[in-house]
């Protein structure tokens, strides 16, 4: 008999409301072990609302969200964000990605300080990540506000890796980045997925870049999921254009 491995993230019929306004409804999506999944859609489709509800920044109005940490399935719908972090879900936000008034080193330390509960482990992880991100190592004593956009994004991703998460949620990692830098960041995400075994859900407006690294994608349109499929299916289908052009 074949044992069925539960998906790492399973969202069913999620609804997000801000007062009377429904930002997203009937959202179902899954992230399986080893996958990079993209949630795509034009501005205002409700992607970020869905992500915020999964992250615990907004309480979902309806639906279920579960997370499988490799041993247990946790019901995380409406769970406070800091508890999710303790379960092994890392969040890389889009707007303020780093702590501007702390130096690079502290920014990294903060990623593990409240999750690992062991100073030596925190420092071991920091050393390992500085080896992996030489740019950050060079700037370890600099205030994070002085880093370039790409470096800040790297720092945010490195911070997310500090506590060895199972799942990483990224909100618009391409935001404000130059194409060259973008390429690096997305390659980095792919490597993290392959080498560190971190499953990734990424919300993106930059469809082409996201589809290059994603295994599967969901495309949203005005508050609901319009269609989904493997990245190749989504990229070739006519419906993607429809979703973006609103036809």
């Amino acid at each position: 008999m074949k044992t069925v491995v539960p998906p790492v993230l399973n969202v069913e019929n999620l609804e997000v409301r801000y007062g009377a306004v429904v930002a997203a409804t009937g959202i179902s999506l899954t992230v399986h072990r080893g996958e990079v999944v993209a949630l795509l859609g034009p501005n205002g489709a409700g992607k970020t609302s869905v992500l915020h509800a999964i992250m615990g920044f907004v309480k979902p109005a309806a639906g279920s969200v579960s997370f499988f940490d490799g041993r247990y399935v946790h019901d995380i719908a409406g769970l406070e964000a800091h508890r999710m972090a303790h379960l092994g879900i890392a969040i890389v936000p889009s707007a303020q990605v780093v702590l501007p008034r702390m130096v690079v080193e502290e920014n990294l330390e903060v990623g593990g300080l409240f999750l690992l509960h062991d100073r030596t482990e925190v420092h071991r992880r920091m050393t390992a990540l500085f080896e992996r991100f030489p740019v950050l190592a060079q700037r370890r004593k600099q205030y994070a506000a002085t880093l370039s956009g790409g470096e800040q994004r790297q720092l945010a991703i490195a911070r997310g890796l500090m506590a060895k998460p199972k799942l990483m949620l990224l909100d618009e990692p391409s935001l404000g980045l130059a194409p060259m830098i973008l390429k690096e960041i997305f390659a980095l995400l792919r490597r993290i997925n392959r080498e560190d075994g971190v499953d990734i859900l990424i919300v993106e407006q930059n469809v082409n870049k996201a589809l290059e690294i994603a295994d599967r994608a969901y495309v949203m349109r005005i508050g609901g999921i319009d269609f989904s499929g493997t990245s190749a299916e989504v990229a070739e289908g006519e419906r993607l254009k429809d979703a973006y052009l609103g036809t």
Binding site: F57, H82, A85, P93, L99, M102, E109, L115
Partner: protein
């Protein structure tokens, strides 16, 4: 007016200014980090000094232990304010201001009612003796102690914020509440800790102030709290070091004004300089926006 007298005023100014700085840092801790202007901070200072008196009244005949009791009362007050007047109104900027103002007024009038509103003498750890430094300049040992305590409190705060996980959590929260959550910080708990530490600073400031004047009264926190807000605004919200510099500067300016002109100029200096500085630098001397403006 002669030089030794001015130097003596300078020492008084430093010790007064250090108290202002501690008051402002207490405000800053909850304002700069949790965006709550705790208008019961002055009342918390007052309770610190009355906690000390209460400990004496209950038979504790040791200044330092009584001071610890007073600070303890102030910490409890800070924690209670968070639970009663802040947490239920989370995120409501005006509501928390009104609620904490209400708590402050209630506490001040409660103490006034119990003590019939008269100023009370506060015992000192020892009677001040004056020592001549040089050229006729005298300084009292109480003043030296006030300055030393203030310096250690501020160094302690810096160490707390820079070195301890709780301090770091407070600094992360100040920069981004969402980011704080995403790295596993329990924002509710850290907010409570922030109010506790702020209450402790209020208690220390209240007791140092009572030691300076040798007495306290139920509304002592009103003026002192207002001075703290002046320092906070002039320094720029969110900046601890700025509070220290501006607090000291205000204390020195005030005592110099007293030395040169008379005590009625004291408050004029504080509020006039606030208005003038804000006209030139609306975000304060060390404020965040100001920092950005300088760099651009």
């Amino acid at each position: 007016m002669y030089l030794p007298h001015l130097v003596e005023q300078l020492f008084i100014g430093i010790s007064t200014g250090a108290i202002y700085a501690i008051v402002a840092i207490g405000f800053n801790l909850v304002f700069g980090t949790m965006n709550v202007l705790n208008l019961a901070h002055g009342a918390t200072m007052m309770l610190g000094s009355y906690g000390l008196l209460l400990a004496y009244y209950l038979g504790l005949d040791n200044f330092w232990l009584a001071a610890v009791a007073g600070i303890g009362l102030a910490i409890i007050t800070g924690l209670t304010i968070e639970r009663v007047a802040v947490r239920p109104l989370r995120g409501h900027w005006w509501n928390t201001k009104v609620a904490t103002l209400g708590v402050g007024l209630f506490l001040e009038n409660l103490v006034a009612l119990i003590t019939a509103g008269f100023p009370k003498n506060v015992p000192r750890p020892f009677n001040p003796t004056y020592h001549e430094l040089f050229a006729g300049i005298e300084i009292s040992d109480v003043q030296v102690m006030l300055i030393l305590i203030s310096i250690s409190v501020m160094l302690g705060m810096v160490a707390f914020l820079r070195r301890t996980p709780a301090g770091k959590a407070i600094r992360v929260l100040a920069q981004s509440p969402d980011l704080a959550r995403s790295v596993g910080i329990n924002v509710d708990r850290v907010t409570l800790i922030g109010f506790g530490v702020s209450g402790m600073l209020a208690g220390v400031a209240g007791i140092l102030n009572a030691m300076t004047y040798g007495s306290t009264y139920p509304f002592v926190g009103v003026t002192l709290g207002l001075k703290g807000i002046v320092v906070l605004i002039v320094a720029g919200i969110g900046n601890m070091r700025g509070c220290l510099y501006v607090g000291l500067a205000l204390g020195i300016a005030e005592t110099m004004a007293i030395g040169l002109g008379g005590s009625h100029y004291r408050d004029l200096i504080a509020y006039l300089s606030m208005v003038l500085i804000l006209l030139v630098r609306p975000h304060g001397l060390f404020g965040e926006e100001g920092r950005v403006e300088r760099e651009v």
